[in-house]
C-alpha cells in the first residue's frame, strides 16, 4: 500500500516533469497586495557615501507615490512605499531586504540603490518570489538572466547601462568631431571600468586606437598628472568616466595647462551639479545621457507641475536623480495598472513582459520589456552645457 502510494507520487512527479516545458515556472509572490493597498519596498543610501543619489531618488519616489495615491491609486489600491537606509553597506542591504519581505510583506522591491548592495540581496528576493524592479545600478546583473533559472526572471531594469550608452555617445561624438586622438580618463572602479569597456569596444568597432588612457582613484582631487599626460599625447576628444567633483577638477586643471579638447562625460556627469558647481569651466562640455533634464523655469506641462511640486516639498531643484526615482514608481504603476484589477504576482510579471510601451512624462525613450529582454532601453542622448544648463544636442542614438 505504502509502496504503491510512493509509486503514484513518483509517477505524478514524472508526469509533472514531462508536462513542464524546458522553462520551469517562475514563482511570484502575491503578498503585499490587499483590497486597499500595494506594499512596495526599497533600500536606499540615505546617509552614506552615495546619499547624493539616494536622497533625491527617494524624494522622487515618494512624490510619485503621493501623486498616484492622490489620483486614486491603481485600480483603487493605494501604494505604500517602505524604505530602509543601507548606507551602501551590503550587510545592511541583506538584512533590510529580509525585513521588508518578511515583516512588511512587500509585493515588489523597487529602485534599490547601488551595485554591491543590490547584488548581495537579490537572490533573497528571488527565493521569496519578490520582483526586483528598476534598481539604481546599470550593471549587467540587474537585467541579464539565465532562462534555465526561472527565479531570475524577476529582475527588470530601466536605466541606461554604462557600456551601451558610452558606445552610442562616443560613436556620435567621433562622427561629429572627427578627432585625431581619442582619449579616456576613468575612475578606477566598477563604474569606470564599464565606461572603459564601452570605450574600447566602440574604438575597436570603428577600428580606431586609444591615444591615451589614464585613471584616477575614487576620491582623488588632483588631476594635474592626468591632464599633462593627455595634453602631451595630443588628445582632442577626452571621454571622462568620472562623477561630479573629478569632472570639474580635471577641466579646471586642463584650463591652467591650456589644454582644451572636446570633453565628453559618461552618464553620471549629466547632472545639474556639474554646471552649478563648474560654472564657466564646464561651458561647452558634452555628456552622454538618458533623459532630458527638466528645469523649473523652462519646463512645460506635466513636467512643469512635477518640477514645481518637487521644489515645494523638498526645497531643492529637481534633478536627474529625482527624475529616475519618479520613473521607478510611475513605471511600476503603469504595469500594475496593466496587470488588471485582480493584481497577482504572476499577472504583474506577465504585464511587465507583455511588450507594452511605457512613456514617462519627461520624454525619455519608451520603456519596453519582453520575455527575453528585461532591459528597458539602450537609446542614448548627447547633451552640452550651454549658459550653465544641459541642452540636448542629439537624441535617439544607438551604436
Amino acid at each position: 500500500m505504502k509502496l504503491s502510494a510512493f509509486k503514484a507520487a513518483l509517477l505524478g512527479a514524472a508526469f509533472g516533469l514531462a508536462a513542464t516545458p524546458a522553462m520551469a515556472q517562475t514563482r511570484v509572490t502575491n503578498q503585499g497586495v490587499t483590497a486597499t493597498e500595494i506594499v512596495l519596498g526599497t533600500h536606499q543610501d540615505l546617509s552614506g557615501p552615495i546619499k547624493v543619489w539616494g536622497v533625491p531618488v527617494y524624494a522622487g519616489m515618494k512624490q510619485a507615490v503621493e501623486e498616484i495615491n492622490a489620483a486614486g491609486g491603481i485600480h483603487g489600491r493605494k501604494l505604500r512605499l517602505i524604505a530602509e537606509d543601507t548606507q551602501y553597506d551590503p550587510k545592511k542591504a541583506v538584512l533590510a531586504s529580509q525585513k521588508l519581505i518578511e515583516k512588511d510583506k512587500i509585493f515588489a522591491m523597487v529602485g534599490p540603490m547601488g551595485s554591491p548592495t543590490v547584488l548581495a540581496a537579490q537572490d533573497i528576493l528571488f527565493d521569496a518570489g519578490v520582483l526586483q524592479l528598476f534598481p539604481l545600478t546599470a550593471a549587467e546583473f540587474t537585467f541579464k538572466f539565465d532562462p534555465a533559472k526561472p527565479q531570475e526572471r524577476l529582475k527588470f531594469n530601466n536605466l541606461l547601462p554604462y557600456v551601451e550608452s558610452t558606445r552610442a555617445g562616443l560613436k556620435y561624438m567621433i562622427e561629429l568631431k572627427k578627432p585625431k586622438a581619442v582619449c579616456i580618463m576613468y575612475q578606477d572602479d566598477e563604474y569606470g571600468k564599464n565606461v572603459f569597456d564601452g570605450f574600447t569596444l566602440q574604438l575597436t568597432a570603428m577600428s580606431l586606437k586609444a591615444a591615451s588612457v589614464t585613471t584616477y582613484k575614487r576620491g582623488a582631487s588632483d588631476f594635474s598628472a592626468q591632464a599633462a599626460k593627455m595634453k602631451a599625447d595630443g588628445c582632442d576628444l577626452v571621454l571622462m568616466g568620472t562623477v561630479i567633483r573629478e569632472t570639474i577638477g580635471l577641466m579646471a586643471e586642463s584650463k591652467k595647462l591650456g589644454f582644451a579638447p572636446v570633453w565628453l562625460g559618461a552618464t553620471p556627469t549629466n547632472v545639474i551639479e556639474i554646471p552649478a558647481l563648474g560654472k564657466e569651466l564646464v561651458e561647452g562640455m558634452y555628456s552622454i545621457s538618458a533623459v532630458e533634464i527638466p528645469y523649473r523655469d523652462t519646463a512645460k506641462g506635466k513636467v512643469k507641475i512635477w518640477a514645481d511640486s518637487y521644489y515645494k516639498t523638498n526645497g531643492s531643484e529637481p534633478n536627474t536623480q529625482a527624475v529616475i526615482g519618479h520613473n521607478v514608481i510611475t513605471t511600476f504603476a503603469f504595469y500594475a495598472e496593466l496587470a488588471g484589477k485582480d493584481l497577482t504576482g504572476a499577472k504583474m510579471l506577465a504585464a511587465l513582459e507583455s511588450g507594452k510601451e511605457f512613456r514617462d512624462i519627461f520624454g525619455s525613450p519608451p520603456t519596453k520589456f519582453s520575455t527575453t529582454n528585461h532591459l528597458a532601453t539602450t537609446i542614448t542622448q548627447v547633451h552640452i552645457v550651454k549658459d550653465g544648463r544641459w541642452v540636448v544636442v542629439k537624441e535617439g542614438l544607438g551604436f
Partner: protein, 362 residues
Amino acid sequence: MRFTFKTDYDQDIRIVKHGGYVWSYGVLLALLALAPFVLSSYLQSQMVFVFIYAIVGVALMILTGFTGQASIGHAAFLAIGAYTAGYMQSKGIPFVVYFPLAAVLTGGIGVIVGFPALRLHGIYLVIATIAFGLIVEEVLARWESVTHGNEGMRVKALDILGWVMPRDGAAFYVLTLLTLVGVLVVALNLLRSPTGRAFIAIRDSETAAKSMGIDLAGYKVKSFAISAAITGLAGALFAHKMSFISPEMFTLLLSIEFIMVIIIGGAFGLHGAVMGAVFMVMIDPVLTELKDGLPGAAGRFFGMAGMKGAIYGLIIMMFILFEPLGLYGRWLKIKLFFQLFPLYKKATFKRQKTYVKSERNR
C-alpha cells in the same frame, strides 16, 4: 552568592568552574540550537551576522584584549579569508579543504605582517595596521585574475561534500554557531595555556614580561597570527553569507566596527566579544524597529536620514565615557551588586594597576 570550595590547583584553570556553568551555558546553547526552527529568516540572518562578528570579536579579543596590541586592519584579514573561500570554491576545491585553508593562509599573512608591525608600539602599530588594511583593499581591486577587481565576486552557496547549505537556511546557521563555539573553546583553552598567560603578561607590562623571560616579538607575532587565522575563518563564512564580495566591502570602516565590537562588549573577556557583536549587529534592526513601531512624531524622528548613525554614535560615546569596561563589565557589576546586596562598593572595579609609569622607558 556561590562560594567554590577549592580542593585542587586544577580548579583555578578549569573552564567549567562549577555546576552553574553547565546548566546556564547548556540552556543558552539549547535555545540557540532551537532558534532556526522558531525564528523568521530575518532574525536568523541577524543571528548569523552576530556569530560572524563574534568570531572576529574573539579574534580581536585575543590580540587586543589579551595581548594589548591594537589593530585597525582586521577587515583585511576578513577579506583574505573571504576571497580565499570564494576563489577556491570557484576552482572546485571542497569546503572541508578551503575552510581550514582560509584560516591557515590568513594566519600566514598575519605572521608576515606581524613581524615588522609588532616591533611598533601603540599608535604606530595602529597606523601600520591601517596601512595594511588599505594595501589589501588595493590588492583586491588590482589582482583581477583572482578577485575580479572592483566588479566583485559571486560566491556560490556553501557545499559540504554535496550537502548544499543555502545562506538563509538552518544548516548554515548551525554551522556558523558551531564555528563560533569551537573558536570560543579554542580561545578559552589558549588563554589558560602558557602561551595565553604570556599574552596577558605582555598586555599588563611588557617590561615585566620581558624580565620574566618572555620573547616579546615571538609572542606578539603568535597572537597576531592566531587572531588573523580566526578572522580568516569568519571571512570564509562571511563570503558565503553575503554571496557576493567586493573590495569596497572591506574598508577601514569595517575594521573600526570590529574594534567597536570589543570596546562596547568589554575588552577583557570573551563574553565581551559576543555581547559586543550582539550590540553591533542588532542596534541597526532595533533602531529600524523603533522607526516603524513608534507612532507619529517619534517614529518620524527615528526615521530621519542619518538618525540611526547619530544615535549609534551617541551610544558608543556614552559607553566610552561612562562604562569603559563595556557591556560585560556592566553585567559583572550588576551581578555583583545583587550578589553582595546591600554590601556592594563601587571601588571593587577600580583599576588596580599601579605600574604604568615604569612602562614609559620601554
